[in-house]
């Protein structure tokens, strides 16, 4: 039915004192989804303009999860911040705390023992397995395959068991420490880790046949939500989202940290598996599944190569804090989280707390690619496309200012402007 006609009819029925409704110019409607919506696990609001079933304009509004973490951080000492950093995001907590550690270690010139590097790598890869499998479940849920979701979450429990045995907790682990890690992996635990890896190797075949061979999943995901290589580069996509578009970008390969320089890690693109790159949702599934396999190999390699020795630069925390109280300068930590590159910037000025702490989480980069991905797609595909970048609002909503009232997508220019403004404000505060 022509929507103009509907409005006209309504106009005829309106009461005398009611204001006249404005006529719509085009046939497009706006559809607002969220912030509390069953398809969204985290609060975010989408404002879509739709024409029939087709999405013609995309806007989204963040800030619902903004907890001011960076500001809180400037009131705590670096060891306390580790626990705060973990709670930036419960799913990728290891990567945030490690990244903060790397930044502070850079400032203080702390040398991390070799064994600790390997332990960090193992924990990071366990987390990647956990995160990617969790994502596979969410993706299945968005596609309407709840049985697959339950299956993936069932096999995910195994890695949680391993993490619990190694660190003492299932989700937030509190294992990282500036200058190393807090707990070692002992001889008794190694077989358990190996057994879990075997379990995943076996389970992988089933996941593969569910996600990569099922005709229904294929038809829902192949060709949907395409992000071209060009757009991916222009919008600075990171992590599996970028790799699925054929961009060979992986911090583990480009700028190895922890033990990755001893391991041969290559960025995985769908080309390795499918022979071509489309940049659609299916490709993102392929990349993530292959990365689970890669993580298993990395952990196995680590267990084999791990040298013996110390795991901490300084065991006594008061002593470490005293050391950190005197450092000055700024440092940057970069690492590859399950969702892409995380950057932490820390500035210390010889006080207990850092002067400034800035976190750039991968979802921040992967938000803008939503624009080209969602444009022209059907409304029903919005959840799976949005989920295909594995967005993590709690990571992103720390200091993002998104203009919710504007009609357009928040573009690079606007972001850059905000960033320049922030830099200037910081400069003023520092008196430079």
């Amino acid at each position: 039915m022509n929507p103009d006609k509907v409005i006209e009819k309504k106009d005829r029925e309106r009461k005398p004192d009611e204001p006249v409704k404005k006529k719509r110019k085009s046939n497009s409607y706006s559809l607002s989804i969220g912030p509390i919506h069953p398809a969204l696990k985290e609060p975010i609001r989408f404002d879509l303009q739709i024409e029939g079933e087709k999405v013609v304009k995309v806007d989204f509004e963040l800030s619902q999860v903004h907890r001011g973490i960076e500001w809180i951080g400037t009131r705590r000492n670096p060891v306390q911040i580790l626990y705060l950093a973990e709670r930036i995001c419960g799913i990728c907590n290891i990567c945030h705390s490690t990244c903060f550690c790397i930044a502070v270690e850079n400032i203080a010139n702390i040398e991390v023992p070799a064994r600790a590097h390997y332990l960090r790598t193992i924990h990071a890869e366990l987390e990647r397995i956990h995160s990617h499998i969790l994502w596979a479940g969410v993706a299945a849920h968005e596609l309407g395959f709840d049985s697959v979701m339950h299956y993936t979450w069932k096999i995910r429990e195994k890695v949680l068991d391993v993490m619990e045995a190694l660190t003492g907790n299932r989700i937030t682990k509190g294992i990282m420490m500036i200058g190393g890690v807090r707990r070692d992996i002992n001889e008794k635990q190694v077989p358990m880790v190996k057994e879990a890896l075997e379990y995943y190797k076996k389970g992988f075949g089933k996941l593969e046949s569910i996600f990569l061979k099922d005709p229904v999943i294929k038809s829902r995901t192949v060709g949907t939500g395409i992000l071209s290589r060009h757009d991916g580069l222009a919008l600075c996509a990171v992590g599996p989202t970028a790799r699925a578009s054929g961009i060979k970008k992986d911090v583990r390969q480009d700028e190895p940290y922890a033990a990755y320089s001893d391991l041969d890690v290559k960025a995985i693109t769908p080309k390795d598996f499918l022979g071509e790159v489309k940049g659609d949702v299916f490709d993102r599934i392929v990349v993530r599944l292959l990365e689970v396999k890669q993580s298993i190999e990395i952990i196995e390699e680590c267990l084999k190569q791990m040298p013996k020795g110390k795991i901490l630069h300084e065991e006594k925390i008061p002593k470490l804090l005293a050391e950190l109280r005197n450092i000055e300068g700024d440092g940057i930590g970069r690492l590859e989280a399950p969702r892409g590159e995380v950057i932490h910037y820390v500035k210390m000025v010889g006080k207990e707390a850092p002067y400034s702490w800035k976190v750039r989480a991968p979802t921040y980069n992967n938000l803008l690619p939503w624009g080209p991905m969602l444009m022209g797609e059907q409304v029903a595909d919005v959840p799976i496309i949005a989920a295909s970048t594995d967005p993590c609002m709690s990571c992103t909503n720390r200091a993002v200012v998104a203009d919710g009232n504007s009609e357009k997508i928040l573009d690079n220019e606007a972001m850059r402007r905000l960033s320049v403004e922030k830099t200037n404000a910081l400069k003023r505060r520092l008196g430079r």
Binding site: R67, G90, N93, C392
Partner: protein, 142 residues
Amino acid sequence: MSLKDLNRSLWVFHVNSGSCNGCDIEIVASLTPRYDIERFGMKLVGTPRHADVLLVTGPVTRDMEKKLKRVFEQTPDPKVVMVIGNCGSTGGVFYESYNLAGPVDQVIPVDVYVTGCPPRPEAIIEGVVKAWTKIEKQGEKK
């Protein structure tokens, strides 16, 4: 309370008021096969109007305050509000943040607190059982 008293299954609506996701994934974990509270007929529903229990995670950011209140009002009585996690119960690690309207009990009345950061799925299930008892009592009064 005995099992006889349970004359219906609880339906649950989950609100994320600014959490770190830790608690949210543990809630989902308690629904999925290892812990599987779905075997009692409990499930996550898509709208608060169908729910008996509100699961709230997160310390309630200013942005989410009104929305949380609205969800609370949309849930029919008798209802139980459960807070999952330290940050919703007390503010947790975020207690001094400038952007909090919470913790949750500053915004809506809370019946059951499940603490832990995040609590284990077992703890969440125990919390649900407590909520169940509470809802029974509410029902008896009426």
